[in-house]
Symmetry: C2
Subunit: 322 residues, 2 copies
Amino acid sequence: MTLVRQPTHAGVRDAAAKIARILPPTPVFVVELQGVAVAFKAESLQPVGAFKIRGAWHRLTTLDPAARARGVVAFSSGNHAQGVAWAAQRLGMPATIVMPSDAPEVKRAATLALGAEIVGYDRRSESRERIAGDLAAQRGATLVPSFDDPWVIEGQGSAGIEAAAQMAAEGLGPVRHAVTPCGGGGLAAGLALALPDARVTVVEPAGWDDMRVSLEAGRIEPVAADAPDTACDALQTPRVSPLTFAVLAGRGATGVSVSEADVRAAQRWAARQLRLVVEPGGAVALAALLAGKVAPTQGMLVLLSGGNVDPQAYAAVLARND
Amino acid sequence: MTLVRQPTHAGVRDAAAKIARILPPTPVFVVELQGVAVAFKAESLQPVGAFKIRGAWHRLTTLDPAARARGVVAFSSGNHAQGVAWAAQRLGMPATIVMPSDAPEVKRAATLALGAEIVGYDRRSESRERIAGDLAAQRGATLVPSFDDPWVIEGQGSAGIEAAAQMAAEGLGPVRHAVTPCGGGGLAAGLALALPDARVTVVEPAGWDDMRVSLEAGRIEPVAADAPDTACDALQTPRVSPLTFAVLAGRGATGVSVSEADVRAAQRWAARQLRLVVEPGGAVALAALLAGKVAPTQGMLVLLSGGNVDPQAYAAVLARND
Protein backbone atom coordinates (compact mmCIF):
# COMPACT_ATOMS: atom_id res chain seq x y z
CA MET A 1 0.00 0.00 0.00
CA THR A 2 1.31 3.39 -1.00
CA LEU A 3 0.83 6.13 1.53
CA VAL A 4 -0.49 9.22 -0.21
CA ARG A 5 1.28 12.39 0.91
CA GLN A 6 -1.18 14.89 2.33
CA PRO A 7 -0.87 18.60 1.50
CA THR A 8 -0.22 20.75 4.56
CA HIS A 9 -0.16 24.36 5.72
CA ALA A 10 3.61 24.07 6.14
CA GLY A 11 3.85 22.87 2.56
CA VAL A 12 1.86 25.87 1.36
CA ARG A 13 4.20 28.19 3.27
CA ASP A 14 7.19 26.46 1.71
CA ALA A 15 5.63 26.87 -1.74
CA ALA A 16 4.94 30.55 -1.08
CA ALA A 17 8.56 31.14 -0.08
CA LYS A 18 9.84 29.43 -3.22
CA ILE A 19 7.45 31.32 -5.49
CA ALA A 20 8.30 34.65 -3.86
CA ARG A 21 11.86 34.15 -5.07
CA ILE A 22 10.86 33.95 -8.72
CA LEU A 23 7.62 35.88 -9.16
CA PRO A 24 6.41 39.22 -7.79
CA PRO A 25 3.07 38.98 -5.96
CA THR A 26 0.09 39.40 -8.26
CA PRO A 27 -1.73 42.64 -7.47
CA VAL A 28 -4.62 42.88 -5.06
CA PHE A 29 -7.28 45.44 -5.96
CA VAL A 30 -9.53 46.73 -3.21
CA VAL A 31 -13.04 47.74 -4.26
CA GLU A 32 -15.99 48.80 -2.13
CA LEU A 33 -19.02 46.62 -2.70
CA GLN A 34 -22.13 47.53 -0.71
CA GLY A 35 -19.94 49.63 1.55
CA VAL A 36 -17.49 46.81 2.28
CA ALA A 37 -13.87 46.79 1.08
CA VAL A 38 -13.35 43.56 -0.85
CA ALA A 39 -9.90 42.41 -2.03
CA PHE A 40 -9.58 40.94 -5.50
CA LYS A 41 -6.43 38.92 -6.17
CA ALA A 42 -5.59 39.08 -9.87
CA GLU A 43 -3.99 35.73 -10.64
CA SER A 44 -4.98 36.49 -14.23
CA LEU A 45 -1.87 38.71 -14.25
CA GLN A 46 0.58 35.83 -13.75
CA PRO A 47 3.01 35.36 -16.66
CA VAL A 48 0.89 32.54 -18.13
CA GLY A 49 -2.36 34.24 -17.22
CA ALA A 50 -3.39 31.95 -14.38
CA PHE A 51 -2.48 30.69 -10.90
CA LYS A 52 -1.45 27.31 -12.35
CA ILE A 53 2.15 28.45 -12.50
CA ARG A 54 2.26 28.15 -8.71
CA GLY A 55 1.45 24.47 -8.37
CA ALA A 56 3.66 23.59 -11.31
CA TRP A 57 6.61 25.42 -9.81
CA HIS A 58 6.21 23.84 -6.38
CA ARG A 59 5.88 20.37 -7.90
CA LEU A 60 8.73 20.59 -10.36
CA THR A 61 11.17 22.09 -7.89
CA THR A 62 10.75 19.09 -5.58
CA LEU A 63 12.14 16.77 -8.27
CA ASP A 64 15.75 15.65 -7.99
CA PRO A 65 18.24 16.28 -10.83
CA ALA A 66 17.75 12.84 -12.37
CA ALA A 67 13.97 13.22 -12.41
CA ARG A 68 14.31 16.73 -13.79
CA ALA A 69 16.40 15.43 -16.67
CA ARG A 70 13.69 12.91 -17.58
CA GLY A 71 11.13 15.69 -17.77
CA VAL A 72 7.45 16.09 -17.07
CA VAL A 73 4.17 15.19 -18.75
CA ALA A 74 0.82 16.89 -18.22
CA PHE A 75 -2.57 16.62 -19.84
CA SER A 76 -4.49 19.82 -20.26
CA SER A 77 -5.69 22.03 -23.05
CA GLY A 78 -5.41 25.14 -21.01
CA ASN A 79 -3.90 26.96 -18.11
CA HIS A 80 -2.33 23.96 -16.38
CA ALA A 81 -0.46 23.10 -19.59
CA GLN A 82 1.01 26.56 -19.73
CA GLY A 83 1.86 26.57 -16.05
CA VAL A 84 3.78 23.30 -16.36
CA ALA A 85 5.46 24.39 -19.58
CA TRP A 86 6.51 27.70 -18.02
CA ALA A 87 7.98 26.07 -14.92
CA ALA A 88 9.73 23.36 -16.94
CA GLN A 89 11.25 25.90 -19.32
CA ARG A 90 12.56 27.94 -16.43
CA LEU A 91 14.10 24.83 -14.88
CA GLY A 92 15.53 23.62 -18.19
CA MET A 93 13.38 20.48 -18.13
CA PRO A 94 11.67 18.83 -21.09
CA ALA A 95 7.87 19.10 -20.93
CA THR A 96 5.29 17.17 -22.91
CA ILE A 97 1.70 18.33 -22.95
CA VAL A 98 -1.11 16.01 -24.02
CA MET A 99 -3.76 18.23 -25.59
CA PRO A 100 -6.84 17.57 -27.73
CA SER A 101 -6.02 17.78 -31.44
CA ASP A 102 -8.83 20.33 -31.79
CA ALA A 103 -7.58 22.61 -28.99
CA PRO A 104 -7.76 26.32 -29.87
CA GLU A 105 -4.75 27.44 -31.91
CA VAL A 106 -4.04 30.23 -29.42
CA LYS A 107 -3.56 27.68 -26.63
CA ARG A 108 -1.37 25.43 -28.77
CA ALA A 109 0.78 28.37 -29.81
CA ALA A 110 1.15 29.61 -26.24
CA THR A 111 2.27 26.17 -25.06
CA LEU A 112 4.73 25.75 -27.94
CA ALA A 113 6.14 29.21 -27.27
CA LEU A 114 7.03 28.01 -23.78
CA GLY A 115 9.18 25.28 -25.30
CA ALA A 116 6.91 22.32 -24.62
CA GLU A 117 6.23 19.42 -26.95
CA ILE A 118 2.54 18.87 -27.74
CA VAL A 119 1.08 15.40 -28.24
CA GLY A 120 -2.42 15.49 -29.70
CA TYR A 121 -5.25 13.08 -29.10
CA ASP A 122 -8.81 12.60 -30.28
CA ARG A 123 -11.19 13.75 -27.59
CA ARG A 124 -13.96 11.38 -28.71
CA SER A 125 -11.98 8.15 -28.98
CA GLU A 126 -8.85 8.40 -26.88
CA SER A 127 -8.09 8.76 -23.17
CA ARG A 128 -5.73 11.58 -22.33
CA GLU A 129 -5.01 10.02 -18.96
CA ARG A 130 -3.79 6.83 -20.63
CA ILE A 131 -1.76 8.62 -23.28
CA ALA A 132 -0.11 10.81 -20.66
CA GLY A 133 0.48 7.88 -18.34
CA ASP A 134 2.03 5.82 -21.14
CA LEU A 135 4.27 8.67 -22.19
CA ALA A 136 5.44 9.24 -18.64
CA ALA A 137 6.18 5.53 -18.19
CA GLN A 138 8.11 5.28 -21.50
CA ARG A 139 10.27 8.29 -20.71
CA GLY A 140 10.55 7.90 -16.96
CA ALA A 141 9.02 11.36 -16.84
CA THR A 142 6.94 12.71 -13.97
CA LEU A 143 3.23 13.09 -14.55
CA VAL A 144 1.97 16.39 -13.11
CA PRO A 145 -1.78 16.24 -12.41
CA SER A 146 -3.69 19.50 -12.62
CA PHE A 147 -5.16 19.22 -9.11
CA ASP A 148 -4.96 15.67 -7.70
CA ASP A 149 -1.49 16.12 -6.23
CA PRO A 150 -0.35 17.38 -2.82
CA TRP A 151 2.41 19.60 -4.20
CA VAL A 152 0.14 21.13 -6.81
CA ILE A 153 -2.46 21.91 -4.14
CA GLU A 154 0.17 23.44 -1.85
CA GLY A 155 1.57 25.49 -4.70
CA GLN A 156 -1.81 26.94 -5.63
CA GLY A 157 -2.37 27.78 -1.97
CA SER A 158 0.60 30.15 -2.05
CA ALA A 159 -1.79 32.70 -3.58
CA GLY A 160 -3.52 32.79 -0.19
CA ILE A 161 -0.30 33.42 1.73
CA GLU A 162 0.55 36.27 -0.63
CA ALA A 163 -2.94 37.76 -0.47
CA ALA A 164 -3.02 37.66 3.31
CA ALA A 165 0.22 39.64 3.49
CA GLN A 166 -1.06 42.14 0.93
CA MET A 167 -4.39 42.60 2.70
CA ALA A 168 -2.65 43.13 6.03
CA ALA A 169 -0.37 45.72 4.40
CA GLU A 170 -3.42 47.53 3.03
CA GLY A 171 -4.94 47.68 6.50
CA LEU A 172 -7.70 45.20 5.68
CA GLY A 173 -6.84 42.86 8.55
CA PRO A 174 -6.78 39.08 8.32
CA VAL A 175 -8.58 37.13 5.61
CA ARG A 176 -11.91 36.05 7.06
CA HIS A 177 -13.59 34.65 3.96
CA ALA A 178 -11.98 33.38 0.76
CA VAL A 179 -14.21 33.04 -2.30
CA THR A 180 -12.67 31.13 -5.15
CA PRO A 181 -13.38 29.51 -8.49
CA CYS A 182 -13.36 25.72 -8.28
CA GLY A 183 -12.74 23.13 -10.99
CA GLY A 184 -10.96 20.13 -9.51
CA GLY A 185 -10.43 22.05 -6.30
CA GLY A 186 -6.66 22.54 -6.33
CA LEU A 187 -6.79 26.28 -5.79
CA ALA A 188 -9.67 26.06 -3.33
CA ALA A 189 -8.00 23.35 -1.23
CA GLY A 190 -4.71 25.25 -1.35
CA LEU A 191 -6.40 28.40 -0.08
CA ALA A 192 -8.11 26.45 2.68
CA LEU A 193 -4.71 25.18 3.82
CA ALA A 194 -3.11 28.60 3.46
CA LEU A 195 -5.79 30.38 5.48
CA PRO A 196 -6.72 28.12 8.39
CA ASP A 197 -8.89 30.77 10.05
CA ALA A 198 -10.88 31.82 6.99
CA ARG A 199 -14.24 30.62 5.81
CA VAL A 200 -13.96 29.13 2.30
CA THR A 201 -16.63 29.33 -0.39
CA VAL A 202 -16.08 27.55 -3.70
CA VAL A 203 -17.88 28.80 -6.78
CA GLU A 204 -18.71 26.72 -9.85
CA PRO A 205 -20.84 27.13 -12.96
CA ALA A 206 -24.37 25.75 -12.61
CA GLY A 207 -24.47 22.08 -13.56
CA TRP A 208 -20.72 21.78 -12.92
CA ASP A 209 -21.10 22.44 -9.21
CA ASP A 210 -20.00 18.97 -8.19
CA MET A 211 -17.76 20.23 -5.39
CA ARG A 212 -20.72 22.06 -3.88
CA VAL A 213 -22.88 18.92 -4.17
CA SER A 214 -20.07 16.73 -2.84
CA LEU A 215 -19.48 18.98 0.17
CA GLU A 216 -23.20 18.91 0.96
CA ALA A 217 -23.42 15.13 0.51
CA GLY A 218 -20.24 14.41 2.45
CA ARG A 219 -18.88 12.26 -0.37
CA ILE A 220 -17.55 12.83 -3.88
CA GLU A 221 -20.31 13.15 -6.45
CA PRO A 222 -19.32 13.49 -10.11
CA VAL A 223 -20.77 15.97 -12.58
CA ALA A 224 -23.89 14.61 -14.29
CA ALA A 225 -23.40 13.13 -17.73
CA ASP A 226 -25.89 15.62 -19.15
CA ALA A 227 -24.24 18.71 -17.64
CA PRO A 228 -25.07 21.85 -19.60
CA ASP A 229 -22.64 23.73 -21.82
CA THR A 230 -20.56 26.33 -20.03
CA ALA A 231 -18.16 29.02 -21.17
CA CYS A 232 -16.03 28.16 -18.12
CA ASP A 233 -13.72 25.72 -19.90
CA ALA A 234 -11.18 25.94 -17.06
CA LEU A 235 -13.76 24.56 -14.61
CA GLN A 236 -15.12 21.64 -16.65
CA THR A 237 -13.77 18.96 -14.36
CA PRO A 238 -15.97 15.86 -14.28
CA ARG A 239 -14.92 14.78 -10.79
CA VAL A 240 -13.00 16.34 -7.91
CA SER A 241 -10.18 14.48 -6.21
CA PRO A 242 -10.11 12.76 -2.81
CA LEU A 243 -7.25 15.06 -1.83
CA THR A 244 -9.00 18.33 -2.63
CA PHE A 245 -12.34 17.11 -1.34
CA ALA A 246 -10.87 15.95 1.97
CA VAL A 247 -9.20 19.29 2.62
CA LEU A 248 -12.32 21.30 1.82
CA ALA A 249 -14.72 18.97 3.63
CA GLY A 250 -12.43 18.98 6.66
CA ARG A 251 -12.62 22.75 6.75
CA GLY A 252 -16.40 22.92 6.41
CA ALA A 253 -16.17 24.70 3.07
CA THR A 254 -19.41 25.29 1.20
CA GLY A 255 -20.23 26.05 -2.41
CA VAL A 256 -22.49 28.13 -4.59
CA SER A 257 -23.17 28.03 -8.32
CA VAL A 258 -23.49 30.83 -10.84
CA SER A 259 -25.28 31.07 -14.17
CA GLU A 260 -23.64 31.72 -17.52
CA ALA A 261 -25.21 35.19 -17.52
CA ASP A 262 -23.75 35.86 -14.05
CA VAL A 263 -20.33 34.97 -15.45
CA ARG A 264 -20.66 37.27 -18.44
CA ALA A 265 -21.76 40.15 -16.22
CA ALA A 266 -18.72 39.55 -14.03
CA GLN A 267 -16.38 39.55 -17.02
CA ARG A 268 -17.81 42.91 -18.11
CA TRP A 269 -17.54 44.32 -14.59
CA ALA A 270 -13.90 43.24 -14.37
CA ALA A 271 -13.12 44.92 -17.69
CA ARG A 272 -14.82 48.19 -16.76
CA GLN A 273 -14.12 48.50 -13.06
CA LEU A 274 -10.74 46.78 -12.78
CA ARG A 275 -9.54 47.05 -16.42
CA LEU A 276 -8.73 43.34 -16.29
CA VAL A 277 -9.35 40.67 -18.88
CA VAL A 278 -10.75 37.74 -16.90
CA GLU A 279 -11.73 34.44 -18.47
CA PRO A 280 -15.13 32.90 -17.74
CA GLY A 281 -13.84 30.33 -15.25
CA GLY A 282 -11.68 32.99 -13.63
CA ALA A 283 -14.67 35.26 -13.06
CA VAL A 284 -17.06 32.91 -11.23
CA ALA A 285 -16.14 34.02 -7.70
CA LEU A 286 -16.67 37.65 -8.67
CA ALA A 287 -19.89 36.58 -10.37
CA ALA A 288 -21.14 35.06 -7.11
CA LEU A 289 -20.64 38.39 -5.35
CA LEU A 290 -22.20 40.52 -8.06
CA ALA A 291 -25.17 38.15 -8.35
CA GLY A 292 -25.79 38.35 -4.61
CA LYS A 293 -24.97 34.69 -3.99
CA VAL A 294 -22.19 35.59 -1.59
CA ALA A 295 -22.51 38.71 0.58
CA PRO A 296 -19.47 41.01 0.85
CA THR A 297 -18.03 40.94 4.35
CA GLN A 298 -15.02 42.47 6.02
CA GLY A 299 -11.81 40.58 5.29
CA MET A 300 -13.12 39.06 2.08
CA LEU A 301 -10.66 37.78 -0.52
CA VAL A 302 -11.95 36.99 -4.01
CA LEU A 303 -9.79 35.13 -6.50
CA LEU A 304 -9.73 36.15 -10.16
CA SER A 305 -7.99 32.99 -11.19
CA GLY A 306 -7.28 33.35 -14.90
CA GLY A 307 -7.34 35.67 -17.89
CA ASN A 308 -6.86 33.49 -20.95
CA VAL A 309 -9.83 34.23 -23.15
CA ASP A 310 -10.77 33.31 -26.65
CA PRO A 311 -10.65 36.77 -28.28
CA GLN A 312 -13.83 36.36 -30.34
CA ALA A 313 -15.85 34.87 -27.50
CA TYR A 314 -14.61 37.58 -25.14
CA ALA A 315 -15.46 40.34 -27.60
CA ALA A 316 -18.97 38.90 -27.87
CA VAL A 317 -19.37 38.92 -24.08
CA LEU A 318 -18.27 42.56 -23.86
CA ALA A 319 -20.65 43.56 -26.64
CA ARG A 320 -23.66 41.89 -24.98
CA ASN A 321 -25.82 43.42 -22.33
CA ASP A 322 -27.33 40.39 -20.58
CA MET B 1 5.24 89.83 -14.67
CA THR B 2 4.35 86.53 -13.08
CA LEU B 3 7.15 84.05 -12.77
CA VAL B 4 5.94 80.65 -13.86
CA ARG B 5 7.07 77.89 -11.53
CA GLN B 6 9.09 75.30 -13.43
CA PRO B 7 8.61 71.59 -12.71
CA THR B 8 11.75 69.92 -11.34
CA HIS B 9 13.26 66.53 -10.64
CA ALA B 10 13.06 67.29 -6.92
CA GLY B 11 9.37 68.06 -7.34
CA VAL B 12 8.83 64.72 -9.06
CA ARG B 13 10.57 62.95 -6.19
CA ASP B 14 8.41 64.80 -3.70
CA ALA B 15 5.30 63.78 -5.66
CA ALA B 16 6.45 60.17 -5.74
CA ALA B 17 6.94 60.13 -1.98
CA LYS B 18 3.48 61.58 -1.38
CA ILE B 19 1.82 59.15 -3.78
CA ALA B 20 3.65 56.17 -2.28
CA ARG B 21 1.86 56.94 0.98
CA ILE B 22 -1.60 56.54 -0.53
CA LEU B 23 -1.33 54.18 -3.51
CA PRO B 24 0.56 50.94 -4.06
CA PRO B 25 2.83 50.99 -7.12
CA THR B 26 1.07 49.95 -10.30
CA PRO B 27 2.48 46.64 -11.54
CA VAL B 28 5.31 46.38 -14.03
CA PHE B 29 5.10 43.44 -16.43
CA VAL B 30 8.30 42.25 -18.10
CA VAL B 31 7.90 40.72 -21.54
CA GLU B 32 10.55 39.60 -24.00
CA LEU B 33 10.22 41.32 -27.36
CA GLN B 34 12.75 40.33 -30.01
CA GLY B 35 14.86 38.79 -27.27
CA VAL B 36 14.90 41.94 -25.14
CA ALA B 37 13.18 42.23 -21.76
CA VAL B 38 10.84 45.24 -21.94
CA ALA B 39 9.05 46.61 -18.86
CA PHE B 40 5.42 47.67 -19.21
CA LYS B 41 4.07 49.92 -16.49
CA ALA B 42 0.32 49.40 -16.14
CA GLU B 43 -1.04 52.78 -15.10
CA SER B 44 -4.31 51.47 -16.47
CA LEU B 45 -4.58 49.65 -13.13
CA GLN B 46 -4.77 52.83 -11.05
CA PRO B 47 -8.04 53.22 -9.11
CA VAL B 48 -9.47 55.56 -11.77
CA GLY B 49 -7.90 53.60 -14.61
CA ALA B 50 -5.20 56.10 -15.54
CA PHE B 51 -2.06 57.90 -14.35
CA LYS B 52 -3.99 61.17 -13.99
CA ILE B 53 -4.56 60.47 -10.33
CA ARG B 54 -0.88 61.25 -9.74
CA GLY B 55 -0.81 64.83 -10.98
CA ALA B 56 -4.13 65.59 -9.35
CA TRP B 57 -2.93 64.32 -5.98
CA HIS B 58 0.34 66.27 -6.13
CA ARG B 59 -1.46 69.48 -7.14
CA LEU B 60 -4.31 69.29 -4.66
CA THR B 61 -2.10 68.40 -1.71
CA THR B 62 -0.08 71.60 -2.22
CA LEU B 63 -3.20 73.73 -1.55
CA ASP B 64 -3.60 75.30 1.88
CA PRO B 65 -6.71 74.61 4.00
CA ALA B 66 -8.52 77.77 2.82
CA ALA B 67 -7.92 76.91 -0.85
CA ARG B 68 -8.96 73.33 -0.23
CA ALA B 69 -12.24 74.50 1.24
CA ARG B 70 -12.99 76.54 -1.89
CA GLY B 71 -12.48 73.47 -4.03
CA VAL B 72 -11.17 72.72 -7.49
CA VAL B 73 -12.39 73.00 -11.07
CA ALA B 74 -11.16 70.99 -14.03
CA PHE B 75 -12.25 70.62 -17.62
CA SER B 76 -12.00 67.18 -19.13
CA SER B 77 -14.31 64.54 -20.44
CA GLY B 78 -12.09 61.76 -19.36
CA ASN B 79 -9.29 60.51 -17.23
CA HIS B 80 -8.14 63.88 -15.87
CA ALA B 81 -11.67 64.54 -14.60
CA GLN B 82 -11.67 61.28 -12.71
CA GLY B 83 -8.18 61.84 -11.38
CA VAL B 84 -9.13 65.25 -9.98
CA ALA B 85 -12.44 63.97 -8.62
CA TRP B 86 -10.71 61.04 -6.93
CA ALA B 87 -8.08 63.22 -5.28
CA ALA B 88 -10.63 65.84 -4.22
CA GLN B 89 -12.92 63.23 -2.71
CA ARG B 90 -10.07 61.73 -0.76
CA LEU B 91 -9.12 65.17 0.56
CA GLY B 92 -12.73 66.12 1.33
CA MET B 93 -12.67 68.97 -1.21
CA PRO B 94 -15.50 70.01 -3.54
CA ALA B 95 -14.70 69.31 -7.20
CA THR B 96 -16.44 70.66 -10.29
CA ILE B 97 -15.78 69.07 -13.65
CA VAL B 98 -16.62 70.88 -16.90
CA MET B 99 -17.48 68.16 -19.40
CA PRO B 100 -19.12 68.16 -22.84
CA SER B 101 -22.87 67.58 -22.58
CA ASP B 102 -22.46 64.68 -25.02
CA ALA B 103 -19.70 62.93 -23.04
CA PRO B 104 -20.16 59.15 -22.79
CA GLU B 105 -22.54 58.17 -20.01
CA VAL B 106 -19.94 55.81 -18.54
CA LYS B 107 -17.52 58.73 -18.02
CA ARG B 108 -20.22 60.96 -16.51
CA ALA B 109 -21.30 58.20 -14.15
CA ALA B 110 -17.74 57.47 -13.07
CA THR B 111 -17.11 61.15 -12.30
CA LEU B 112 -20.37 61.52 -10.37
CA ALA B 113 -19.59 58.35 -8.40
CA LEU B 114 -16.42 60.08 -7.19
CA GLY B 115 -18.53 62.84 -5.67
CA ALA B 116 -17.82 65.56 -8.23
CA GLU B 117 -20.31 68.05 -9.66
CA ILE B 118 -20.55 68.05 -13.47
CA VAL B 119 -21.16 71.22 -15.47
CA GLY B 120 -22.00 70.50 -19.10
CA TYR B 121 -21.18 72.60 -22.15
CA ASP B 122 -21.78 72.47 -25.88
CA ARG B 123 -18.60 71.39 -27.63
CA ARG B 124 -19.47 73.24 -30.85
CA SER B 125 -20.45 76.63 -29.42
CA GLU B 126 -18.89 77.03 -25.98
CA SER B 127 -15.36 77.29 -24.62
CA ARG B 128 -14.65 74.89 -21.79
CA GLU B 129 -11.63 76.94 -20.80
CA ARG B 130 -13.79 80.02 -20.30
CA ILE B 131 -16.55 78.16 -18.46
CA ALA B 132 -14.03 76.54 -16.14
CA GLY B 133 -12.15 79.81 -15.63
CA ASP B 134 -15.38 81.68 -14.82
CA LEU B 135 -16.47 78.98 -12.38
CA ALA B 136 -13.11 79.01 -10.64
CA ALA B 137 -13.19 82.82 -10.37
CA GLN B 138 -16.77 82.88 -9.01
CA ARG B 139 -16.02 80.29 -6.36
CA GLY B 140 -12.44 81.16 -5.58
CA ALA B 141 -11.70 77.58 -6.58
CA THR B 142 -8.41 76.36 -8.01
CA LEU B 143 -8.35 75.48 -11.68
CA VAL B 144 -6.40 72.25 -12.24
CA PRO B 145 -5.15 72.04 -15.83
CA SER B 146 -4.72 68.60 -17.30
CA PHE B 147 -1.08 69.15 -18.29
CA ASP B 148 -0.12 72.84 -18.38
CA ASP B 149 0.85 72.96 -14.71
CA PRO B 150 4.16 72.31 -12.96
CA TRP B 151 2.62 70.25 -10.14
CA VAL B 152 0.55 68.17 -12.51
CA ILE B 153 3.66 67.42 -14.59
CA GLU B 154 5.67 66.51 -11.50
CA GLY B 155 2.87 64.29 -10.23
CA GLN B 156 2.63 62.35 -13.49
CA GLY B 157 6.39 61.91 -13.40
CA SER B 158 6.12 59.93 -10.20
CA ALA B 159 5.25 56.93 -12.40
CA GLY B 160 8.85 57.07 -13.62
CA ILE B 161 10.31 57.07 -10.12
CA GLU B 162 8.17 54.07 -9.23
CA ALA B 163 9.01 52.21 -12.43
CA ALA B 164 12.74 52.79 -12.01
CA ALA B 165 12.64 51.22 -8.54
CA GLN B 166 10.59 48.29 -9.81
CA MET B 167 12.87 47.66 -12.78
CA ALA B 168 15.93 47.77 -10.54
CA ALA B 169 14.28 45.28 -8.17
CA GLU B 170 13.58 42.97 -11.14
CA GLY B 171 17.23 43.08 -12.14
CA LEU B 172 16.58 45.10 -15.28
CA GLY B 173 19.01 47.85 -14.35
CA PRO B 174 18.39 51.57 -14.84
CA VAL B 175 15.77 52.94 -17.21
CA ARG B 176 17.59 53.80 -20.44
CA HIS B 177 14.66 54.59 -22.70
CA ALA B 178 11.12 55.61 -21.72
CA VAL B 179 8.43 55.30 -24.37
CA THR B 180 5.17 57.01 -23.51
CA PRO B 181 1.84 58.10 -24.87
CA CYS B 182 1.63 61.87 -25.33
CA GLY B 183 -1.40 64.14 -25.44
CA GLY B 184 -0.53 67.50 -23.90
CA GLY B 185 2.76 66.07 -22.68
CA GLY B 186 2.20 66.03 -18.92
CA LEU B 187 3.16 62.40 -18.47
CA ALA B 188 5.99 62.59 -21.00
CA ALA B 189 7.50 65.71 -19.43
CA GLY B 190 7.09 64.22 -15.96
CA LEU B 191 8.93 61.08 -17.02
CA ALA B 192 11.70 63.14 -18.59
CA LEU B 193 12.16 64.94 -15.28
CA ALA B 194 11.92 61.71 -13.30
CA LEU B 195 14.51 59.91 -15.41
CA PRO B 196 17.27 62.38 -16.24
CA ASP B 197 19.51 59.71 -17.78
CA ALA B 198 16.91 58.06 -20.00
CA ARG B 199 16.12 58.72 -23.63
CA VAL B 200 12.48 59.76 -24.02
CA THR B 201 10.26 58.92 -26.98
CA VAL B 202 6.75 60.32 -27.13
CA VAL B 203 4.12 58.49 -29.15
CA GLU B 204 1.01 60.06 -30.66
CA PRO B 205 -1.69 59.01 -33.13
CA ALA B 206 -0.95 60.00 -36.72
CA GLY B 207 -2.25 63.50 -37.46
CA TRP B 208 -2.25 64.31 -33.74
CA ASP B 209 1.53 64.09 -33.50
CA ASP B 210 2.01 67.75 -32.75
CA MET B 211 4.55 67.11 -30.00
CA ARG B 212 6.68 65.17 -32.46
CA VAL B 213 6.38 67.96 -35.03
CA SER B 214 7.04 70.62 -32.40
CA LEU B 215 10.14 68.84 -31.09
CA GLU B 216 11.47 68.57 -34.65
CA ALA B 217 10.65 72.21 -35.43
CA GLY B 218 12.02 73.52 -32.15
CA ARG B 219 8.80 75.46 -31.50
CA ILE B 220 5.21 74.61 -30.58
CA GLU B 221 3.14 73.65 -33.61
CA PRO B 222 -0.57 72.98 -33.09
CA VAL B 223 -2.50 70.06 -34.51
CA ALA B 224 -3.84 70.82 -37.99
CA ALA B 225 -7.46 71.91 -38.19
CA ASP B 226 -8.21 68.98 -40.49
CA ALA B 227 -6.66 66.32 -38.24
CA PRO B 228 -8.13 62.88 -38.89
CA ASP B 229 -10.47 61.03 -36.56
CA THR B 230 -8.76 58.94 -33.93
CA ALA B 231 -9.96 56.44 -31.36
CA CYS B 232 -7.37 57.92 -28.96
CA ASP B 233 -9.73 60.36 -27.26
CA ALA B 234 -7.30 60.80 -24.37
CA LEU B 235 -4.65 62.17 -26.74
CA GLN B 236 -6.76 64.63 -28.76
CA THR B 237 -4.99 67.72 -27.50
CA PRO B 238 -4.92 70.52 -30.06
CA ARG B 239 -1.76 72.14 -28.69
CA VAL B 240 0.94 71.19 -26.20
CA SER B 241 1.99 73.60 -23.47
CA PRO B 242 5.13 75.71 -23.15
CA LEU B 243 5.91 73.89 -19.90
CA THR B 244 5.75 70.38 -21.29
CA PHE B 245 7.39 71.35 -24.56
CA ALA B 246 10.29 73.07 -22.81
CA VAL B 247 11.03 70.05 -20.64
CA LEU B 248 10.93 67.61 -23.54
CA ALA B 249 12.84 69.84 -25.96
CA GLY B 250 15.46 70.48 -23.29
CA ARG B 251 15.97 66.75 -22.96
CA GLY B 252 16.21 66.11 -26.69
CA ALA B 253 13.09 63.95 -26.69
CA THR B 254 11.80 62.76 -30.04
CA GLY B 255 8.47 61.47 -31.23
CA VAL B 256 6.89 58.86 -33.46
CA SER B 257 3.33 58.44 -34.65
CA VAL B 258 1.20 55.32 -34.95
CA SER B 259 -1.79 54.46 -37.12
CA GLU B 260 -5.25 53.59 -35.88
CA ALA B 261 -4.65 50.00 -36.97
CA ASP B 262 -1.38 49.95 -34.97
CA VAL B 263 -3.36 51.04 -31.93
CA ARG B 264 -6.02 48.36 -32.35
CA ALA B 265 -3.36 45.68 -32.75
CA ALA B 266 -1.72 46.90 -29.54
CA GLN B 267 -5.02 46.78 -27.65
CA ARG B 268 -5.51 43.19 -28.77
CA TRP B 269 -1.94 42.28 -27.84
CA ALA B 270 -2.38 43.78 -24.37
CA ALA B 271 -5.59 41.79 -23.84
CA ARG B 272 -4.05 38.50 -24.96
CA GLN B 273 -0.49 38.75 -23.71
CA LEU B 274 -0.92 40.87 -20.59
CA ARG B 275 -4.64 40.28 -19.90
CA LEU B 276 -5.05 44.03 -19.55
CA VAL B 277 -7.80 46.25 -20.86
CA VAL B 278 -5.95 49.24 -22.35
CA GLU B 279 -7.72 52.19 -23.95
CA PRO B 280 -6.62 53.39 -27.41
CA GLY B 281 -4.65 56.39 -26.14
CA GLY B 282 -3.09 54.23 -23.43
CA ALA B 283 -1.85 51.71 -25.99
CA VAL B 284 0.06 53.98 -28.41
CA ALA B 285 3.51 53.44 -26.88
CA LEU B 286 3.03 49.68 -27.05
CA ALA B 287 1.73 50.15 -30.59
CA ALA B 288 4.95 51.91 -31.58
CA LEU B 289 6.96 48.90 -30.40
CA LEU B 290 4.76 46.29 -32.01
CA ALA B 291 4.67 48.23 -35.28
CA GLY B 292 8.47 48.45 -35.36
CA LYS B 293 8.56 52.22 -34.96
CA VAL B 294 10.60 51.95 -31.78
CA ALA B 295 13.12 49.12 -31.39
CA PRO B 296 13.17 47.24 -28.06
CA THR B 297 16.39 47.93 -26.15
CA GLN B 298 17.71 46.98 -22.77
CA GLY B 299 16.33 49.13 -19.97
CA MET B 300 13.19 50.06 -21.90
CA LEU B 301 10.14 51.28 -20.01
CA VAL B 302 6.82 51.46 -21.86
CA LEU B 303 3.86 53.23 -20.32
CA LEU B 304 0.36 51.78 -20.63
CA SER B 305 -1.27 54.97 -19.48
CA GLY B 306 -4.99 54.21 -19.25
CA GLY B 307 -7.66 51.54 -19.41
CA ASN B 308 -10.98 53.36 -19.64
CA VAL B 309 -12.61 51.99 -22.76
CA ASP B 310 -16.02 52.36 -24.27
CA PRO B 311 -17.25 48.76 -23.93
CA GLN B 312 -18.84 48.53 -27.38
CA ALA B 313 -15.90 50.12 -29.18
CA TYR B 314 -13.48 47.90 -27.28
CA ALA B 315 -15.47 44.77 -28.10
CA ALA B 316 -15.36 45.76 -31.77
CA VAL B 317 -11.57 46.18 -31.64
CA LEU B 318 -11.14 42.73 -30.05
CA ALA B 319 -13.40 41.14 -32.65
CA ARG B 320 -11.49 42.65 -35.60
CA ASN B 321 -8.38 41.24 -37.13
CA ASP B 322 -6.78 44.28 -38.77
